[in-house]
Each structure stands twice: as C-alpha cells, then as structure tokens.
C-alpha cells in the first residue's frame, strides 16, 4: 500500500524548484516594473483619468403608415442614473438631486432599488428630465459623484390618431417583467420592450442594437472626453415598420366613432392589407409612456366601457343576419333551394309550440331568396334553414374562418364559438336542444359568437370568391391564402348580386351605406344582433368597387340598434371618403 519508497532524483527536484522560482521571480519583476519604474505614469493616470463605459441606447424603429407618414416616432429624453459603487454619500446626493429636479427623494430611492443591477452599473433613478432640471444638476455636478445623465429615446405618437389597440405599447424592463421576456439576455433594466400589439409582434425588428462609448472622467466624475483606448460602438437603430394603415382614414373613423362602443375595419380584399382598424372607446397611446398617475389608471380600468379591450380581435358578438349568406350559399351548393321558390312572410313563424318573429312585425309578404336577403327576411330563412343539419351549417361557418384565429399580425386574438351538434350536446344534453336552436343560430343569434376581425375575413372571402389573402397590418408580412373552395363560381356571383341589392335597391336594408358616387358599386349585408345587454348590436359588412378597385368594410356598433340604421351610414361615410376624391383613392391604393 504505502510501501512505495520515495526515491526522487535530485535533478528532478531542482528542475521543478527552478521553474517555480522563475515564475515567482517574473511576477516580482513585473510588479516592480509597474509599481516602481512606471509609477509616475500610472499615478497621473489614476489622478486624472477614469474611464467610464456609457451605453448608447438605440432608438426603436419607427412605425409608418402605408404612405410613409410617421405614426410612432422617437423623442429624445434624458434619464438620470446613479452608479452605486461611485456614490460617496447616497443620502446627501439624493437630496441634491431632489432639490435640482423637484422629484421626491423617496421616488429616487424606490427607482434606485428597482433598477439596481450591480455596484458598477448605472441604475436609473429619474426619467423624462427637462433641460432646466438638467442644467441645475450640471451646476451641482461636483457634489454628485456617480450620478450621470444619458439620452434615452422615448416613444412619441402621432397626434392624428390613437390606434392604441393596433400599435400596442412598450414597457420598461424591470425585475418583475424580465422573467416574462423571451430573449432575456438582450435586455437590461430600464430598456424598453414591446409589450402589446405591433410593438410586441415586431419587437425583434423594431429593437435596435445598443452601442457603447467610453469617456474619460476626472476624479469628480466630470467628463473630460472620449477615451483613446477604446473605440466607440455606435448604436444601430431598429428597422422601421411600414404598416398598411391609411392614417387619414384611421383619423376620420376615430373621429366619427367617438362616444360609441364600436368597431370599424377597412381592408383591401385583394391583398389582405388593413387600411384602418378602430376599436372604441380607446385610450391615448402615450398612456403607457409618461408618468401615468394612479387616478388616471383607476379611471381607465374602472370604466364600464372597457377602453383597454381590443374589440376588433377580442370582442365576441353574435353576428346577426350577416351570416344569412352562409346559410344561403350552403343551400345553393347542395341544390336544396329553388331561386324562384316563394315563401310568405306574415311576421311570425311557428315551430312546435314556439313562435319565431321576423324583425318586421307586419311581415314582408311573398319572398324569394333574392328579396329575402335584400330585406333580411327572417321567416324565409326559418323555413329554408331546416333543410340543413346543424353540422352542415357549422362546417360552412368554420370554412369561412369562424371559430378560428385569423392569424392577423396583432399579438393575440379570440377564437369565437361556432356551435355544432357535439357542442350543443355538451351544452344542453343529448335531447335538450332542438331545431328551434338552429333557427336561432342561422340568424346569427344564440351561442354563435364571432370577432369583428373574423367578419373582415368573411367579407374578403366573399369578395375574392373564397381565396382571400390573410389579413395583415405590416406591409411585408408573407401572405398566406385562406381559401374556401367548395362553392361554384355561379354561387359566388349570385350571392354577391344579392348583396348588391341590399345596398343599391331602394327597399334594401343597407341602402344607407351608399354614398351615391357614380361608378361605385356597393354590396353588403346588415345585421341586427339581439343580445341580453340591451339594444341589439348593429352590424354592417360590405365592399365597394370602382374601376376594379375594391375596399371592404366591417362596422359594428354595440347596442346600436338596427344595423341598417346605425351601422350602414358609417360604412357609407367610409366609402364616400375613399371613393369621392382621387387624392384619397391614390393614397389608399398606393404601393
């Protein structure tokens, strides 16, 4: 075991000792060289110069409208940072800063704690400093070792529009939210990260790359100049984001919808580009930038109209009669309807012991399919929808994208519900529901709920005969086609002819959507969706075409009453805006 004797040749001992002594001697020489021989040089350097790395924040990319007009800009602000390891008297320094800026020391201290990253890294203690505050800080610079200010690009929004639900907002990275960020290593506390909407979806593109520059500072922390030892690395600004929005149209719609709980969507069906997206009530987009007070916040979150809710993608509504087209198309495709077949509407339809009413109490009289769509006759559809099973009807709805996400490039959206037989079984039990439910559903009432953005996709599918490009807000998003290919060309043509009647014929429910511009044809459908929260929701979906240029529109006014009365005129103003002047047409159809 331990019996192996130790027989080390002396030569080997000498060699190992020699190596060690040489290493140690080289250390002594090196230290002598630096500490004694070059002492004066280093002493001066230590007295005069200190090098500090200052991060240069990269401005985020701008967000532009379809013609390059700036929607979201950057605005240079100044922030005050404190380097914990350099501050000599924290208490006194904070008092001076408080005196210079008027910011309470408790706020400074809270920020100091919140953004603390380490002894030698700057922690942000105040932001949005004015030039006045800065110059007062500069006066006291000598007493404020370790406190510096740097430029910080803040988001700045166009005054013309809110568009808050689309643009989203940026949030400051702090200890609480850094956990939820995907690529953590790219962020430090105090950085901005896109948190909602386009700012979130296109975060990687909008965020630039930070730079750094090294300055020499004297013993008081005053900057002397650029350091010659290290090269400056310039920040690389983020890439600009060109959206498909038309800022003038968006502004016009936001103005006319003010005070209504409503959604308006406008798009180009041929490309899937969104021209305008408004959800009201909304909020000012700089709600999340400046210092929002607790009161302002309280007011927004306690508002019963829920301004933070993005009704375009998360509002769930019964679609009302706008879905009559799906019922009609399914019947046509399956050959279960005769176009000349007439059904008498006397205002009420009886099924078993229940009565189903038409919206027109006195009844429409004799109706064929064309008139039934144009006048939105319910009784006609009560009759014919029974020729479909609930699953046939639900499948048709699903094909048009209801019950699924549209995958528009906004951070998130709701799916909605299209009830089929298994859904109804779960909801009411195997025998708990009947044909009566189908009658209701086919009129877009009951369990069926959709989002406005799904309606936009639906109307675009109708315009494009089933193969409409995916909806998108940012210009160069790859276009995936969402296609409905079950229906014959004839069916598409016929249903659009009927929809044309809804707006252009004098008896059509949607005729208020027609601004009467020569050469402009408008087709559409109104909807009046009963709901338990009061007045019915008013819908209008439709599209206008002039010189082969098409625009589709979705209007929803919550509790707005009759679709033809409340929603259709709004669509009319949009068509008027876009098609009445060549200037606006050029702006909308540019690119």
């Amino acid at each position: 075991m331990l019996k192996a004797a130790n027989l080390i040749p002396q030569r080997r001992f000498v060699v190992v000792s020699g190596v060690i002594i040489m290493l140690m001697f080289s250390l002594i020489l090196r230290f002598f060289y630096i500490q004694v021989y070059f002492h004066e040089t280093y002493k001066k350097k230590a007295e005069v110069n200190r090098i500090r790395a200052i991060p240069l924040n990269a401005p985020r990319g701008l967000i532009l409208d379809r013609n390059g007009e700036i929607i979201v800009d950057n605005f240079p602000t100044y922030v005050l940072t404190a380097i914990p390891g350099e501050i000599i008297n924290k208490e006194k320094n904070f008092q001076i800063v408080s005196y210079c800026t008027g910011i309470d020391t408790t706020i400074l201290k809270t920020n100091y704690k919140k953004y603390y990253r380490g002894r030698f890294l700057p922690a942000r203690i105040a932001k949005d400093l004015t030039f006045d505050q800065l110059s007062r800080i500069e006066e006291h610079k000598q007493e404020l070792t370790g406190i510096n200010y740097i430029q910080f690009p803040e988001r700045f929004f166009s005054e013309k529009i809110n568009a808050s639900h689309i643009l989203g907002y940026v949030k400051e990275v702090d200890q609480a939210i850094i956990k939820d960020i995907k690529e953590k290593e790219n962020y430090i506390y105090g950085d901005l990260v896109g948190w909602r909407g386009l700012e979130k979806v296109y975060e990687n593109r909008l965020r630039g790359t930070k730079g750094v520059h090294f300055v020499e500072v004297d013993a008081y922390g005053r900057e002397i100049g650029q350091s010659s030892d290290y090269e400056k690395e310039n920040p690389i600004p983020g890439t600009d984001l060109q959206t498909t929005l038309l800022i003038s149209l968006q502004a016009m719609i936001e103005k006319i919808l003010d005070g209504k709980r409503s959604v308006v969507l406008v798009s180009l069906p041929e490309t899937g580009e969104m021209l305008a997206m408004v959800s009201k009530p909304d909020y000012s987009p700089d709600l999340f930038t400046g210092e929002t007070t607790v009161d302002e916040w309280q007011e927004i979150i306690s508002n019963p109209d829920k301004p933070l809710l993005n009704r375009m993608t998360h509002g769930l509504y019964p679609p009302g009669s706008t879905l009559k087209m799906i019922t009609a198309m399914s019947l046509m495709e399956k050959g279960r309807i005769d176009y000349s077949e007439k059904i008498n509407c006397n205002g009420v339809y009886e099924l078993g012991d229940r009565e189903f009413h038409c919206w027109k109490e006195e009844g429409h009289g004799e109706m064929d399919l064309e008139q039934a769509i144009a006048q939105s006759c319910n009784v006609y559809f009560y009759h014919v929808v029974q020729r479909l099973s609930i699953d046939e009807w639900a499948n048709a709805c699903n094909e048009f994208g209801f019950g699924q996400r549209t995958e528009i490039d906004l951070a998130s959206e709701a799916k909605g519900v299209v009830p089929n037989s298994s859904f109804m079984n779960k909801q009411y039990g195997r025998w708990g529901w009947s044909k009566g439910h189908l009658l209701n559903l086919s009129l877009g009432q009951g369990e069926l709920v959709v989002t406005p953005i799904q309606m936009m996709q639906f109307i675009n599918s109708l315009v494009m005969n089933g193969s409409a490009p995916a909806l998108h807000v940012v210009k160069d998003k790859p276009q995936i086609k969402h296609s409905v290919d079950r229906y014959a060309h004839q069916t598409w043509k016929r249903i659009k002819k009927y929809m044309l009647n809804v707006v252009s014929s004098t008896y059509g429910t949607g005729n208020r959507a027609n601004p009467g511009i020569p050469g402009l044809n408008i087709a559409g459908k109104t909807g009046t969706a009963q709901n338990p929260h009061g007045e019915p929701h008013a819908w209008f979906i439709g599209f206008g075409e002039k010189d082969k240029k098409q625009v589709s529109v979705v209007v929803l006014v919550e509790n707005g009453g009759h679709g033809g009365v409340t929603a259709a005129p709004i669509a009319g103003r949009i068509f008027d805006f876009l098609f009445s002047s060549n200037e606006n047409m050029n702006l909308a159809f540019s690119l």
Partner: protein, 410 residues
Amino acid sequence: MIQLFFQKFKESPTSLIAIALFLTGVGLITLKSINTGQEGTLFQLSFFKELFFLIPALVAFIFVFFIPRHTIHRYIYGFYGFMIILILLPFFGNEIASTYRWIDIGLPFGFQPSEFAKWIMVIALARYLSDHNLEMNHFSASIIPIIMVIIPAGIVLNQPDLGSAIIILVPLLPMLYWVGARPFHLFLIVAPMVSILTAFHWISFAIWAILMIYIIYKAKPNLVFSISTFFGNIFLGLLSPILWGMLREYQQKRILTLFNPEIDPLGAAYQIIQSKTAIGAGGLFGKGWGQGTQTHLKFLPVQESDFIISVIGEEFGFFAIFILITLFSFFIMRTLRLAYNVDDRFSSLVLVGLGTIFTAHVFVNFAMTVGMIPVKGLPLPFVSYGGSFLLSSFIMVALIMNLSIDPKDY
C-alpha cells in the same frame, strides 16, 4: 486526544499554517478597506462573511490534519467518484451568472464543488501513481492518469470554468515528472494542445514544427513512431482551423470569450487597464489602508475576489506585493522540499500536486492583474474573498502538514 494533536502538530511544519493565517489576515484587512463606505447588513459585507467562513475552514483544517494517511489513501478513489458526481450536480440546479459552478445548499451562499475537485484529483492521482509500480519509461503508463484528469477537467470546462479546469489538469505534468516519466512523454501529452493553438498563425506553427523536429530528434524514438508523432501533430494543427470554421458564430464567440474575456466590451474590457492603473498608482509603499481612490471610486469588478491584488497593490504598494510573493514562494518551496524528503511516494506525490495547485493559483492570479496573461477567474489562496476556496485552501494546508511528517506514530 488533544495531547496527541499537539504532539503531531509540533512535529509538523507549522510555518505553513502560520503563513496561511497571516495571508488570511492580509485578505481580511483588505476586505475591511473595501467595505468602508459600503452599505449593508453585517452579513452583506465581505469582511464579516469571510470571517465567518474562517470558522468552518479551521474546523476542517483540524479534522483533515488528524486523518491517518492510510485512511486517506484507502478511500480516495471513493472520494474521486463522489467528486465527479458533485461537479455534475450544478448542471441540474439553477444557472448562476450563466454558469453552472454552484450548488444551492439552502444557505445564503452557494457551494462550488470544483474547488474540492482540485485536491481530490491530486490525491487520487498520487495513489494511482504510487500504487502501481509503474514502468515510467513506457508512455502507456501515463494513459490512465491522463484519463483520470480529463474527465473532471472536461466537466468543469463545461460549467464553464476554464480556470478551475486548468488547475485540475496542471498537476498531472509535474506529478508524472516527479515519479520519473520521461520528459519526451510529457512532450507527447502537451504537443497536441500546442499544435492546435499554434495552428492559427503560420509563423508560430512553423516555429512549433521545427521545435518538434528538434525534440523528436533528441529523444530518438523509433522511426515509425517519430514520423507518426510529427505528422499526427501537423495534421491536427492543419485540421483545427477547418474544425473552427465549422463551428457556428456564437460557439466561436463563446470559446473566444472563455480564453479572452476582453472581447466582451462592457465586461472585462477595461478591467486590466483599471487594475494596472490601480497597482501602478500604488507605488513603492502604497496610498495607505482605505486610501485607494481607484479601489473606492472606480470600476474594479470582482475586487474582493479575483482582483484583490489590485487593491493591495494600490493601498500597500510594491512593498506588500513583494512580501506576499515571497511568502507564497516560501510556502511552495517548503512544500516541495517536504515532498522531496518525505519517506513514501504517495505522500510525496500529494505534496507535489498540492504545491502545483498553489503555484498555479498564485501565478495566474498575480499575472492577470498586471496583464501578463488574459483574465482567468482564479482567486488568490487565503487572500481572496470566497468561502469554498478558503475552506479548500485550509484543507490543502492540513493535507500538506499531515502527510509531510513521519508516519510511524500516527
């Protein structure tokens, strides 16, 4: 029992523990200076934390000093296996500072198992090399020792902790040399690494190739072996830039930062200049305790652990540095002298290995603060702040003192 301890203690080279305690004192004084002006509760200040860590370190010292050498000898392979598991454990825990060096033991501080791997490795190697009456004239005798160090070194390198990996690897060469391995065989071990590193510049590669021819010619192995050694290394060298090119950019960056942290502009970029300025400004006698402006005002990251020499250099001057290096040299030479005189080969090898660990730590730490070598995260024994390493260092002193005395009575 206590008497036995004192008896054994008296016979041991007590100057070693005296130096160790003195150096720890220097470290504490420096930490106290760094702490002035810092805020925090008692247990946030490194001075008190280090003072607190000294208690388990001294307890461990007494305990290890008392373990009979045959017990150490008998159980060391078991410890070796246990150590491999320990250094793998951090990979299952949380990342700390994007590395896997630490084990969370539920206390306010972590535990760094790679510190213990260093001396466990040395003892295991000493047992292998002393147990097997090896024909060190044959290269094959070195194969198993190489494997024994490569495994833990590889794991630690992945944590990633290049400094500790080097410390685990380094004792192998002197220990093999100590038991009589032929220098040419040591050359064979080192050659592939040098071939890979020199291959990135053709002049250095050419010089290396000529040097190889000279060494192989002097060693005179048989012709086939000579040729295959030479061309094997050349081939390896030529291959390495190609393999490098196959790595992805982030992988290359990671490797480069491992060898040269200065690539990271906001991290260690001006660390060396800062450190050199602080040390140079200290002059012959320093600025005095607590007076180092560089230390107290400047960016001197890790000044409490890896860069504590910058603080000492600034505040106490060349005078103190000279004393420290002399003390360390004395400590290491004394260990080496004991290794030469001790009766059995196992103890001798352990002493040489531990001496090498101390030498590597001391040299790398001093050298990096003055920019002689790229920054490596290696603390200075006894002086630098850090619980695991303080404990480990005192255990190593206990091992040296324990194994260097005549084994017959204890």
